[in-house]
């Protein structure tokens, strides 16, 4: 790790101010991505602005079917939240399968979506739920938030403060682990929302998380795994690496979509 200066922000405003003092600075949440990248010397921020001690960023609230998760909420808290489970168990199950217990107790939803790893789980959940990302300056719908591999709509210095969504009628997530990292080699989130069926796929697309309109239409008219059987998944937009080639990922997209529908029951 290169030398860096640590700052503990006391509020969102304080964090934004600290971030502005150097253009080489970075926000720090759980550090599960950022610190390991720094240890490998692949990132070298001059300053780390620690968001973990900002009171307003943590915690879960459920009012009616409206779920709001503070950006600083660790995965373990989402996984075990009885309040969320009562209205949207799929997102608890998704969070409960991120990494390992260490990662789930340190890593946060804000850090995960700001990072937008193409194999991360939350991007599929948020896109599938049609969630809204709340920042210190605006609200961004998930369809606009995730813009590419490790790319988001966040502007320089913009802080994710919360994620909010209306619990869907039904939702399910199915993940096929990368055997080494256990990130999603393919993860599919399906949801029957007020605005229609949404299907979001992570871990597979060469541009990161994406929606599958063919699956969405099929499930809209028939909410059943069988509805997906005849729909082709185009391998041309799939990621290919030493763990999985494009054809295999295309297969997994369909298999995981079917299993996600089953999981949603």
């Amino acid at each position: 790790m290169y030398a860096t200066s640590y700052h503990r922000a006391s509020s969102v405003e304080d964090a934004v101010r600290l971030r502005g003092t150097s253009d080489e600075s970075k926000y720090l949440s759980g550090g599960m991505t950022l610190i390991s990248t720094m240890k490998q010397r692949l990132a070298s921020p001059s300053d780390l602005i620690d968001l973990r001690h900002i009171p307003g960023l943590k915690g879960v609230s459920v009012e009616g079917r409206r779920v709001t998760i503070g950006a600083g909420t660790p995965h373990a808290e989402v996984a075990t939240s009885q309040a969320i489970r009562a209205v949207c168990p799929a997102i608890c199950n998704l969070a409960g399968h991120i990494g390992d217990p260490h990662v789930r107790h340190m890593g946060t939803i804000g850090g995960s979506i700001a990072n937008n790893d193409p194999a991360a789980d939350y991007p599929a959940g948020l896109l599938g739920l049609g969630a809204t990302v709340v920042t210190d300056r605006r609200s961004i719908v998930a369809d606009d938030f995730f813009t590419g591999l490790f790319e988001t709509a966040l502007e320089e210095g913009e802080i994710v403060t919360a994620v909010t969504f209306e619990a869907p009628e039904k939702a399910g997530y199915a993940k096929f682990n990368n055997p080494a990292s256990r990130f999603a080699m393919t993860g599919v989130f399906v949801a029957k929302t007020a605005g229609g069926v949404r299907v979001a796929v992570t871990g597979a697309g060469s541009d990161g998380v994406f929606r599958h309109p063919g699956f969405e239409q099929a499930l809209q008219s028939n909410w059943s795994p069988d509805a997906l059987v005849s729909i082709a998944v185009d391998a041309s937009g799939m990621m290919a690496d030493m763990h999985a080639d494009a054809d295999y990922r295309a297969n997994l997209v369909k298999v995981m979509a079917k299993r996600a529908v089953l999981a949603a029951a």
Binding site: M1, Y2, A3, Q40, R41, F176, P179, A180, S181, M242, H243, A244, D245, Y248, N251, L252, V255
Partner: protein, 782 residues
């Protein structure tokens, strides 16, 4: 035997220390004035070094010095060597290219060390290492053995034209070919044994300390064999003469073979300590470990197995190409030859065997022994072939094996080994019964009803452990003898220290060696300490690898104990005015047999040291030394059965049961043996399903350089194992033990692949059988 003697499930004495974080590893060592090293490593798989400019690095904060290979060579430090001479079949010696501890002319793999930076902190050392400017002329690289043998392939070493290190053979080629020509059936198969990274939990580390006042060096290092390290560094690398070099391997967190070898880092840190006048510590990070720890396996083989009309194997012909990486590591030549092809008879009476082995340089990290070392390669090859033959012949795999088992001992194979004892059928029967082999068909049917493809596969392995008779290995080219030493020191109050040349890096010697002594003397296990891992404390010894600590190391302890007991009996006889023939040792007392006259053990010890009343002419003291040189290898064997369910939609394999039936001879501590088997199985299952070192074939970059890409087995990848032990005691050593450290890793990969190929219905599958590969194997062939 008693509750603490041989055969007892004594809890490991060392575990309290390890489990509470109180182990003392090399990286825990801190000495006054100590500084930190970082190695500058090649980012290229193959390149000429045009120039090295260290001036900017030297000016960086905290930097004490930056040293390179020219300086090292000028100071007379030698090249790294391979310590086992193998000759090609034309009689020419193996072609060993120069491996410089710090390269200054050519780099040959990503991670090849070029310079060392010594600085106040490891961070500053690393910063400065990035500031060393090296002008490279990149050369084309080759990473796969078969490609390296092709005409026009990049050439690694001028000493080895065509990248061929040796072209070696064993067995009788003519008799083998004749038998194949006359065969009723010949099974032919091509097999790849995948390349693995050893991944001990503790990465390598070393602390080099030069004491100018004494002109003396101390080397703390993560070694499985500190005495061998001292010998090699002294005799071949000119670091220092043995009397001026102390090597200490304290607690070591796993080795699996990778910590046998002497690597550039320990040599360079010792030398750098003298150059800079400060103690120099280096600790590998995980990516450095992937890049620079010797890898394992990496064979490609063609096999022909010939049968007569009665399904008896009449010949086996093997053609293997083994990738040895960029340089010949310490025992690299022995692994794909004398530790591999000598086991190609397996458990079977095969009258004619011929194996040809070519070893090859490539632009990858050196390959050497890794848990099993050669025997997993032999077992995978034989047991995959046997299974395939059974399918082709339409006979049950168990019956085909049974028909061909060796049944009389000793048995001389056509490939050097002479098996001393075994009962292969006992393990086969035990495993089949434990696995409910007979009930498999109904389990398969019920899996099919759930949409799963169920398969079952077996593997009957044999291995050679307890390496090894010194004269035998010497005649085959080994540069060292493979005996072991022990010293039993009885203190004046009767407590005991056992000094052994064996080295524990997870095996539990502090417990098992103490059990041996506690059982023999009837003294409490807590009164016995096992001392190992320090060349200043322990006389010359050969270390731990090849499951040799029990069969060889403990046998040396037995010999030393024999001498201690003989002297103790003399003293007791003298004290009790009895005949020494009548003295027996029981429950911590020396007793006149058949009477109630006794002297406690501690009193005999005290008498030996006060020396007030010893037999006339007896030297004071109670301390004896022994060297034990085995008369043969030992031959653990067994049968493993794997049962799997494959999800045809994803290709994911679930191991639904795994049965291991092992014959390790006598067992010192069943709990520790079970732990060794569990760990070995995990590693073998890792090889079969998950692990693979992946170099980019064009650039030679290592793509699996972290756990994000190199898949290690995790607890939930593994089933609960069903173990059993059969016992044909080893006739060759006083304890009748064979060794158990590697069996799990040797026997399991073919059992699993046999099970998966059974499930998918054909043989087109290579290790690791990842979900993608299994899914691909299930797609209709194009």
């Amino acid at each position: 035997m008693g509750v603490e003697g041989i055969g007892a499930r004594v809890a490991r004495k060392e575990d309290k220390r390890f489990l509470t974080g109180k182990g003392r590893y090399t990286d825990d060592m801190v000495v006054p004035g100590m500084k930190y090293a970082c190695f500058v490593r090649s980012p290229h798989a193959h390149a000429k070094i045009r120039s090295i400019d260290v001036s900017a690095a030297k000016a960086m904060p905290g930097v004490i010095d930056v040293l390179d290979g020219k300086q090292l060579q000028a100071d007379g430090i030698g090249n790294l060597i391979c310590g086992w001479m193998v000759h090609s079949k034309d009689g020419s010696p193996m072609k060993m290219g120069a491996w410089r501890p710090l390269a200054h002319e050519t780099v040959r793999y990503v991670g090849d060390a070029i310079a060392i930076v010594v600085a106040d902190s490891s961070g500053e050392a690393r910063d400065a290492a990035e500031a060393v400017e090296i002008d490279y002329e990149e050369l084309p690289a080759v990473t796969e053995a078969l490609s390296a043998l092709e005409g026009g392939a990049p050439q690694l070493h001028p000493e080895a034209p065509g990248n061929l290190i040796f072209d070696w053979q064993i067995g009788d080629p003519e008799a083998t070919d004749r038998a194949i020509a006359s065969a009723a059936h010949v099974t032919e198969i091509e097999l790849v044994n995948n390349r693995l990274s050893p991944n001990p939990m503790e990465p390598r580390a070393t602390l080099g300390i030069y004491d100018e006042a004494e002109d003396h060096y101390t080397c703390y290092t993560t070694s499985q064999n500190p005495h061998v390290a001292r010998l090699v560094m002294s005799a071949f690398y000119n670091v220092a003469p043995e009397n001026k070099l102390r090597v200490i391997a304290p607690d070591v967190g796993g080795g699996f073979g990778s910590k046998i070898y002497i690597y550039p880092e320990e040599i360079v840190c010792l030398w750098a300590s003298r150059k800079t006048g400060v103690p120099v510590k280096w600790t590998s990070d995980r990516t450095e470990a992937f890049l620079t720890d010797a890898h394992g396996r990496d064979h490609v083989s063609k096999v022909k197995m010939a049968f007569d009309a009665d399904n008896r194997v009449i010949a086996l012909k093997v053609d293997t190409v083994a990738n040895l990486g960029a340089y010949m590591s310490l025992f690299s030549s022995a692994v794909p030859t004398y530790l591999y092809a000598t086991l190609l008879s397996g458990q079977y009476a095969i009258p004619a065997i011929h194996a040809n082995v070519r070893t090859v340089y490539t632009n990858t990290v050196p390959v050497d022994a890794y848990r099993g070392a050669g025997r997993p390669e032999a077992t995978y090859l034989l047991e995959r072939t046997m299974e395939t033959a059974a399918r082709e012949l339409g006979v049950s795999p168990a019956e085909l094996r049974r028909k061909n088992f060796i049944r009389t001992f000793p048995y001389q194979t056509p490939v050097i080994m002479n098996y001393d004892a075994g009962d292969y059928e006992a393990s086969l029967d035990a495993a089949m019964q434990a696995a409910d082999w007979a009930g498999f068909d109904s389990r398969r049917a019920s899996a099919a009803a759930r949409g799963k493809k169920r398969g079952i596969g077996m593997s009957c392995y044999i291995e050679a452990c307890g390496i090894a008779p010194s004269a035998a290995v010497g005649s085959l080219g080994a540069g060292v003898g493979l005996w072991e030493s022990a010293e039993v020191r009885v203190n004046a109050v009767g407590t005991i220290e056992v000094l052994t040349g064996s080295h524990s890096h997870g095996q539990g010697h502090e417990t098992t060696f103490a059990q041996l002594v506690a059982g023999r003397l009837g003294v409490p296990i807590d009164s016995i300490n096992i001392v190992h891992g320090d060349t200043d404390k322990v006389q010359m010894g050969m270390g731990t690898y090849g499951s040799r600590s029990g069969a060889v190391g403990m046998s040396a302890v037995v010999k030393a104990l024999d001498k201690v007991e003989a002297k103790a009996k003399k003293i007791a006889a003298h004290l009790m005015e009895a005949d020494e023939q009548d003295i027996v040792i029981e429950n911590g007392e020396l007793k006149i047999a058949g009477t109630d006259k006794t002297v406690p053990w501690f009193q005999v010890a005290l008498a030996a040291y006060t020396a007030h009343n010893l037999p006339v002419g007896m030297e004071p003291g109670l301390k004896e030394t022994a060297f034990y040189d085995p008369s043969n290898f030992t031959f653990p064997a067994g049968c493993y059965i794997a049962e799997v369910e494959v999800d045809p939609e994803t290709g994911k394999t679930e191991i639904v049961q795994f049965v291991a039936a092992d014959d390790f001879g006598n067992i010192i501590n069943p709990m520790i043996v079970e732990g060794q088997v569990h760990g070995g199985l995990a590693q073998g299952i890792g090889q079969a399903l998950l692990e693979n070192v992946h170099y980019d074939p064009d650039t030679g970059q290592l793509l699996t350089a972290s756990f994000m890409d190199y898949a290690m087995p995790r607890a939930d990848d593994l089933p609960s194992f069903t173990l059993s032990h059969q016992n044909t005691p080893c006739p060759g050593n006083p304890l009748g033990i064979k060794g158990c450290g590697e069996a799990g890793a040797i026997g399991s990969p073919p059992a699993l692949i046999n099970a998966i190929t059974d499930a998918i219905g054909h043989n087109r599958l290579t290790m690791p059988a990842t979900p993608m590969k299994v899914w691909q194997a299930l797609q209709p062939a194009l």
